[in-house]
């Protein structure tokens, strides 16, 4: 067992992990941060995306020990300080960018990473960026629309109710 210490959503946490413990397992099983989901075992689905030192990472591809000393952000830390939804979360709700909600934490974390680097992504840029996040419910229409809306773009011309 190895001791790891990292900052998660602004708080310092420590734990004992096996060498084989994945960051996703450490978050879910040890810290009970179950918003990070496990949807596959080949690092394809993206339901487990978190930010490590500001970069999006599929937390099932990283050992917890590798994140020792890192600054980690998960879906649980994304809302505004007063608990209200942040601009991306609010856009997902307003534009119905989620249905069952299982892929949603990864989608929101990927969207946040995209918008940090690209303040006004085009439709094609959003779609390409989301290649590593699979959603089975929405057909992606409203996810793409929500992310564009969250960047401040006018999405009223994109068909939908």
């Amino acid at each position: 067992m190895t001791k790891v210490t990292m900052t998660i959503n602004g708080k310092s946490v420590s734990g004992e992990v096996e060498g084989r413990t994945l960051l996703s397992s450490f978050l879910r099983e040890d810290l009970h941060l179950t918003g990070t989901h496990i949807g596959c075992d080949t690092s394809q689905c993206g339901a487990c995306v978190v930010h490590v030192d500001g970069k999006p990472v599929k937390s099932c591809t990283m050992f917890a020990a590798e994140a020792d000393g890192a600054d980690v952000a998960t879906i649980e830390g994304q809302a505004n300080a007063d608990g209200s939804l942040n601009v991306i979360q609010a856009a997902f709700q307003e534009h119905h960018g989620l249905q069952c909600g299982f892929c949603t934490p990864g989608m929101v974390m990927s969207a946040a990473a995209l918008l940090k680097d690209n303040h006004k992504p085009s439709e094609a840029e959003v779609r390409e960026y989301l290649e590593g996040n699979i959603c089975r419910c929405t057909g992606y229409h409203n996810i793409v629309k929500a992310i564009m809306a969250a960047s401040g773009q006018d999405v009223s011309a994109i068909a939908a109710e």
Binding site: T34, G35, Q44, L130, T138
Partner: protein
């Protein structure tokens, strides 16, 4: 205009807040005190005789608490098929037992033959590796045609690989044959409806607790219908009395059919929890999901369309082989029969229809209902052969469809496939589709594509489906072994807020938002004061759950009926409070008033009075304000639609891109347009996935080659376009109180033939005489078809 939050409002979903903040509670997010882990030993061969299983080494491994094999469940019942299908000769279908764990034989790769319970999942996984199973591999039966011809069987005890040979409608067979024989023109098409894996993003998970103090069990599980799961476990599999078993389906991450069914893992964790006296949890990994979730589709069909010299349809005749896999899953016998054959008249006045379906056992995972369940297969066959016929006789595909549409003045319409359609207007849908998709502008867009070196195609489709399953009286005649009503309890609490307990289960459909809109509209109160309770058999009345686009049409109607009972009783209480006759009481905007006076009491005051019944006329009115209704519809509902899409094909590579997709649907009345549109989007994504990307591939040994997201091509954001969705042309359902028809599956039904028709159109525009390409239309398949044409 509807008031905010009532019927017709695009109210944003309240459930979104927990999903967006990571506070949803899916099965695997929960852990119980003292919890242990289950891991299954699964067959690596498709067909084999279990000679012996030695678990002694596994039992001695660290942390191991118990090891189970199929022998431990020989005495318990089998997991049954929910529909009895009789073959054309009157013989009932073959129903081999589906055990909790395989014993005697393993019948598909992934078939579980043992399970380890250990303190941790890692220990359980390590111990599974130590199980020594001597399994003698036998030749696998993978291809349906080979299985029908084989002299060895998936289930030796039934002596055949044919489950049934079904004719619909057998009495129409001779007339259909005669119509085809005498027809001016007959178009024939052989096609494959490709095998798909539903792929809900949340893998299945089941967690059982056993309370020795009162001999009670609690099962948390990923289910679309917890009461049905409980009934199957209680009445057929383990015999646990229903009153001793609570089944809870908490937040569930998508279903698409695959979570309707009871699976052996649920029974195993229940039995294990009792044996070791501690909670037991199992969570599938994605490979297990691919290997063991019920798959969908997998039909091989020959369809013939007979027409007279003017293009009037005279008959449809089909012969289908439908794969049911290694065991009969719960809806597997209904899906290729009554959810498929009854729709084979489509939107058309065709007088003769005959459908033959042979269901075939193979050494593959069970196949069952997947989004659309039989109706996508029917629509695909019909709309592909109609398109081919239009090209053969040189008629515009839209014109040929219009010529044969049922007209608005023909409802109720008795279809040649045995259903009575209640309402619709297919020409109006087609008109709207032509308008919103700017069909008139297609030729200009084709020229623009050609300038870029691409071939552009236009594809069209009309569909009808039967939803809201269903009338128990009808499905009973058709072989269903369960009723298909639903139920709701409306509980008005003393302080005036409401808890509405429903039999439907929401796993993405937004019931927690849409159902309160209905109740709020009826009572004239704030929808935020209404909460939906679903998914827990200890809290909800006995409803049949969510599948077949039935939640609103069936369970929503039960909600309406229960709310009507609430209003009736509340009016009596208000009449007493206002010293009036209850016939004079009116309810408007949450206020009960005496007609023609200014005397009134609010809904909240009536609620409080119901629970503090001082000076209450107890001889006339019971205290309390809580009502339950069961609703069993008079008929299916019949959503319909006109879809079109435009594709570009790269002639150099065969790659197809969907440039536009338009869905115009008649869903009857719409409660929440935003949610309905989202449901269509999702179906379109899955349908385009089927048409272009997704395929479930077994090799000749029965190994699943597409068992991960590296190999099974899920549609991703950059594979799909923005969609145009329109439901302005609704014709209310005539027989349920909301006038709703159901929208959950439409997109997946209407889109696959639309895409294929468009690709064929594109290739023919490039001078290629290609008439059909099987799905998925991968670049390789399209390119090869172009080279061979």
């Amino acid at each position: 205009m509807p008031k905010d939050g009532g019927i017709g409002a695009s109210t944003v979903r309240r459930e979104d807040v927990r999903f967006l903040t990571g506070t949803g509670q899916y099965c695997d997010d929960m852990n119980m005190f003292g919890q242990t882990s289950a891991v299954f030993a699964r067959s690596t061969v498709a067909n084999g005789v279990i000679k012996s299983i030695d678990t002694s080494a596994a039992e001695a491994m660290p942390g191991v608490l118990a090891v189970f094999t199929g022998e431990d469940f020989v005495e318990v019942g089998g997991n049954p098929a929910g529909w009895l299908i009789n073959s054309r000769d009157g013989e009932p279908m073959k129903e081999p037992k589906r055990p909790v764990l395989a014993h005697g034989k393993v019948r598909h790769v992934g078939d579980a033959y043992a399970a380890v319970i250990a303190e941790t999942i890692e220990q359980a996984k390590d111990a599974v590796e130590a199980i020594e199973a001597d399994i003698e591999e036998l030749p696998a039966l993978v291809n349906m045609k080979d299985a029908l011809a084989a002299d060895h069987y998936v289930h030796d005890e039934i002596g055949t690989n044919q489950c049934f040979d079904w004719g619909w409608i057998e009495d129409n067979r001779a007339a259909t044959d005669a119509a085809i024989k005498g027809a001016h023109h007959v178009t024939t098409l052989e096609l494959v409806n490709n095998r798909l894996v539903p792929n809900a993003m949340e893998p299945r998970c089941s967690m059982a607790q056993y309370n020795r103090a009162n001999d009670e069990y609690v099962l948390h599980t990923t289910s679309q219908n917890p009461h049905l799961t409980r009934l199957l476990i209680s009445a057929f599999v383990l015999g646990i009395p229903e009153n001793k078993l609570t089944v809870i389906a908490p937040d569930v991450g998508g279903g698409f059919g695959s979570k309707i069914y009871h699976y052996g893992e649920e029974a195993l964790v229940l039995a294990a929890a009792k044996k070791i006296g501690r909670p037991v949890k199992w969570t599938a990994d994605r490979t297990e999901a691919f290997l063991t979730d019920a798959h969908g589709r997998d039909h091989v069909t020959k369809i013939e369309l007979a027409m007279d010299k003017d293009g009037n349809f005279l008959a449809f005749r089909t012969e289908t082989m439908a794969n049911v896999g290694a065991y009969l899953s719960n809806f597997s016998t209904a899906t290729p029969t009554f959810l498929h054959g009854t729709l084979m008249a489509g939107n058309y006045t065709v007088p003769n229809v005959y459908v033959n379906v042979k269901a075939v056992f193979t050494n593959t995972a069970p196949v069952d209902a997947y989004r659309g369940a039989g109706r996508p297969e029917a629509t695909f066959s019909l709309e592909r052969v109609i398109d081919k016929a239009a090209r053969e006789i040189g008629m515009d595909p839209i014109e040929l469809r219009r010529k044969n549409f049922i007209k608005p003045d023909q409802y109720p319409f008795a279809s040649a496939a045995g259903l009575e359609y209640d309402s619709g207007n297919y020409d109006a849908l087609m008109d709207q589709m032509e308008k919103v998709a700017d069909v008139a502008g297609f030729e200009a867009r084709r020229k623009a594509s050609e300038k870029k070196g691409k071939l552009r195609g236009f594809g069209v489709n009309a569909y009808i489906e039967a939803c809201g399953i269903a009338p128990s009286n009808l499905v009973g005649v058709l072989g269903s072994r369960v009723g298909l009503y639903d139920a709701a309890t409306v509980r008005v609490n003393a302080t005036g807020n409401l808890s509405v307990m429903v039999g439907a289960h929401s796993h993405g459909q937004g019931h927690e938002t849409a159902f309160p809109q209905v109740v709020a509209e009826m009572l004239g109160i704030d929808p935020q004061s209404i909460d939906i309770v679903h998914g827990d058999t200890s809290k909800i009345p006995f409803g049949m759950g969510t599948y077949g686009s039935r939640s609103l049409a069936v369970c929503g109607s039960a909600v309406v009926r229960a709310t009507e009972k609430i209003i009736n009783k509340a009016k009596k209480i208000a009449a007493h409070m206002l010293e009036a006759s209850d016939g004079d009481i009116e309810l408007k905007d949450g206020v009960f008033s005496v007609a023609g006076t200014d005397k009134s009491v609010t809904f909240g005051e009536v609620a409080l009075k119901a629970y503090i019944p001082h000076e209450f006329p107890l001889e006339d009115i019971e205290p309390g304000l809580e009502e339950t209704a069961f609703y069993d519809p008079a008929n299916f509902t019949y959503p319909s639609g006109a879809y079109c899409c435009e594709v570009e094909v790269d002639p150099e590579t065969g790659k197809v891109t969907v440039e536009s997709m338009t869905a115009v649907d008649d869903f009857g009345n719409v409660i929440n347009p935003m949610i309905v549109t989202g449901q269509v989007h999702g179906g379109l994504g899955q349908g385009i996935g089927q048409a272009l990307l997704e395929n479930t591939t077994y090799d000749e040994n029965g190994q699943l080659l597409s068992a991960s997201y590296m190999d099974y091509v899920m549609p991703r954001a950059d594979d799909l376009p923005f969609y145009t969705v329109d439901h302005s042309q609704g014709n209310a359902c005539t027989h349920n109180p909301l006038g709703v028809k159901g929208c959950g599956e439409a997109g997946a039904i209407g889109s696959p033939p639309t895409v294929v028709n468009a690709v064929i159109d594109a290739l023919q525009s490039g001078g290629k005489s290609v008439t059909h390409i099987d799905m998925p239309m991968t670049p390789h398949r399209v390119w090869s078809a172009m080279q061979n044409a």
